[in-house]
């Protein structure tokens, strides 16, 4: 059980933060393009899901999984998107993603007068706190395999 990587997007598609822990395969395209592709995929999935849904949705798209990884998604009403790729053994972690938004992003970036919003987060405090939070999660195992 492990966490592969984490993306944070704002409402305009700007990638605010990206970190990886155990990633075995790179996408084969430059990082900037990978962020745009990821954002575009999530935007399309949201639109797809809202059309396909037989009933009115409350939380919307939650997660998807393939044969090797699971992507968890959480979006705030302000358009901030937290995306986490984990392996298949991990269950619903909406509360973890919400914590990343409320206790880390809002506290350390939004409330920081020196952090400009709408661009990649430069704050070292945010990066290190996020890293230690992820490492402390019960489903994160530090093994390299």
């Amino acid at each position: 059980m492990t966490v592969h990587n984490l993306y944070l997007f704002d409402r305009n598609g700007v990638c605010l933060h990206y970190s990886e822990w155990h990633r075995k395969k790179q996408a084969g395209i430059p990082k900037e393009e990978e962020y745009k592709l990821m954002y575009g995929m999530l935007f399309s999935i949201r639109s797809f899901v809202s059309k396909m849904s037989p009933l009115d949705m409350k939380d919307g798209f939650l997660a998807f999984q393939t044969s090797r990884y699971k992507l968890h998604y959480y979006e705030t009403p302000t358009g901030i998107k937290v995306v986490m790729n984990t392996d298949l053994g991990v269950g619903p972690i909406r509360d973890v993603l919400h914590h990343i938004y409320s206790a880390l992003y809002v506290e350390l970036v939004v409330k920081n007068p020196l952090c400009p919003l709408g661009q990649t987060v430069q704050s070292e405090l945010f990066r290190s706190r996020l890293d230690s939070y992820i490492r402390s999660l019960p489903f994160f195992s530090a093994r390299a395999g």
Partner: protein
Amino acid sequence: MAIFSVYVVNKAGGLIYQLDSYAPRAEAEKTFSYPLDLLLKLHDDRVLVAFGQRDGIRVGHAVLAINGMDVNGKYTAEGREVLEYLGSPANYPVSIRFGRPRLTSNEKLMLASMFHSLFAIGSQLSPEQGSSGIEMLETDTFKLHCYQTLTGIKFVVLADPRQAGIDSLLRKIYEIYSDYALKNPFYSLEMPIRCELFDQNLKLALEVAEKAGTFGPGS
């Protein structure tokens, strides 16, 4: 616990079969007097609610029927424009039924192709080696399961999130496809499936899946 629909997508991303087996519809019918306190707008040949959510009528809901008669796109059953009809006070009080708009065949085609691309992107953005595309997509109202065969055909099933046994159902649908569509000499590959036996057996399989929750091995 129900299976909502089945889609079969060919190698190129085109929809070749679609079945809606169960459609829970959230609809609200209310009587209104002039002036209407909802803001309606025309979108894509339908009249949608743009503003004024209340009592089960949400933003994005379409006008389904006026005074009990189903509307036809943006025209009423009599052929008058819905927005014009609802704009004149002489037609009030009027009873309007709102609900989630049903998908047209064109929209289903587009959504199937969209899913085909998303499936491929899911595989490309994988942080692990050798990943398949999206096999299961979860939302709070439905779960979408997808099985891609070695020949590139995708069987997509939309079901209630709590429904079990969809994996074996997908394999069963593949079996039914190879028995009643592929072995049919009049069926051309990658074309829309118009085989009665395929329809019948698929409906039977869906019923069995909903009741039993799972298929036995080798059934």
